[in-house]
C-alpha cells in the first residue's frame, strides 16, 4: 500500500509539473520577444494594428489600415516593444507604394531600444505626397511598407476622393 501512495503522489507531482511547464511556456514564449504596434489616426478615429496579435491573420502578412479621405492627413505612430534581455537596434524604413512603384519615402531612421524598453516612430502622410491618380479616380489603394532587417509589415489603405459630382437637381412635381 505504501507503494500505491508514492505512485499516487507521483501522478499528482507530474500533473503539477505539466501545469508549471505550461505556465513557463506562456511566460517565456508568450511574453518575451520584440513586438510592434501601429496606430493610424485620421478623421478623428484611431485604428490600432497589433501585428503579432491578430485573431484572424490577414492575407500574406498584409493588414488593412482603413479608408482615408483625400485631402485629410493621416498620422502614424509605430511602437516597438523590446521584451528581451538584450538591446534592440535596427534600421527602420517606411515607404508608400502603389503596386510595384515606390511613391515616397516617409521614414529612414536607426532605432535603438534598451532591454525591456519601447520606442515610437511617428510620421504623417498628406495627400500631396501621393500620386495624383487618386484625384482622377474615386478610390485608390496604397501600401505602406514598414521595413527592418528582420521583417516587413505591409498595410494597405484606401484613399477616397471627395465627391465632386453635384447632386442631381430636384425633380419638379407635376
Amino acid at each position: 500500500m505504501a507503494g500505491m501512495g508514492h505512485t499516487r503522489y507521483l501522478y499528482l507531482g507530474l500533473a503539477l509539473a505539466c501545469f508549471a511547464g505550461i505556465l513557463s511556456i506562456f511566460i517565456v514564449d508568450g511574453y518575451l520577444g520584440v513586438y510592434d504596434i501601429l496606430y493610424i489616426t485620421y478623421d478623428e478615429y484611431e485604428r490600432k494594428i497589433e501585428f503579432d496579435n491578430q485573431w484572424i491573420p490577414e492575407g500574406e502578412g498584409t493588414y488593412y489600415g482603413g479608408e482615408i479621405t483625400f485631402g485629410k492627413p493621416a498620422y502614424f505612430r509605430y511602437q516597438i516593444e523590446n521584451r528581451t534581455f538584450s538591446s534592440y537596434e535596427d534600421r527602420l524604413t517606411v515607404s508608400v507604394w502603389e503596386g510595384s512603384n515606390k511613391l515616397v519615402d516617409l521614414v529612414d531612421k536607426q532605432v535603438k531600444i534598451t532591454s525591456f524598453g519601447s520606442a515610437a516612430v511617428e510620421w504623417a502622410l498628406t495627400s500631396d505626397k501621393l500620386a495624383t491618380s487618386v484625384i482622377n479616380e474615386e478610390y485608390s489603394n496604397y501600401t505602406i511598407r514598414i521595413s527592418s532587417s528582420s521583417q516587413e509589415r505591409k498595410i494597405i489603405f484606401g484613399y477616397r476622393a471627395r465627391s465632386t459630382i453635384p447632386p442631381p437637381p430636384p425633380v419638379p412635381l407635376k
Binding site: Y11, C18, I22, F26, D29
Partner: protein
C-alpha cells in the same frame, strides 16, 4: 450539500478564468510553444486522471 455547490461554483470560476487568460495569451505563442503547451496539457489531464483513479474516484 450547499458546500459542494460552492466548491463547484469556485471550480467553474477557476476554469473559466484560466480559460480566458489562456485564450488571451495563446495569441502571443509561437507554433512550437503552442504544440508544447498542447502536449503538456494532454499530459497534465492524463496524470490528473491517473491520480484521481489512484485515490479511488
Amino acid at each position: 450539500m450547499r458546500i459542494y455547490a460552492l466548491y463547484g461554483f469556485g471550480i467553474l470560476l477557476c476554469i473559466s478564468g484560466v480559460g480566458y487568460l489562456a485564450a488571451e495569451y495563446v495569441r502571443y505563442l509561437s507554433e512550437v510553444g503552442k504544440l508544447l503547451s498542447l502536449v503538456l496539457t494532454t499530459g497534465m489531464f492524463a496524470f490528473l486522471g491517473k491520480f484521481l483513479e489512484a485515490i479511488g474516484w
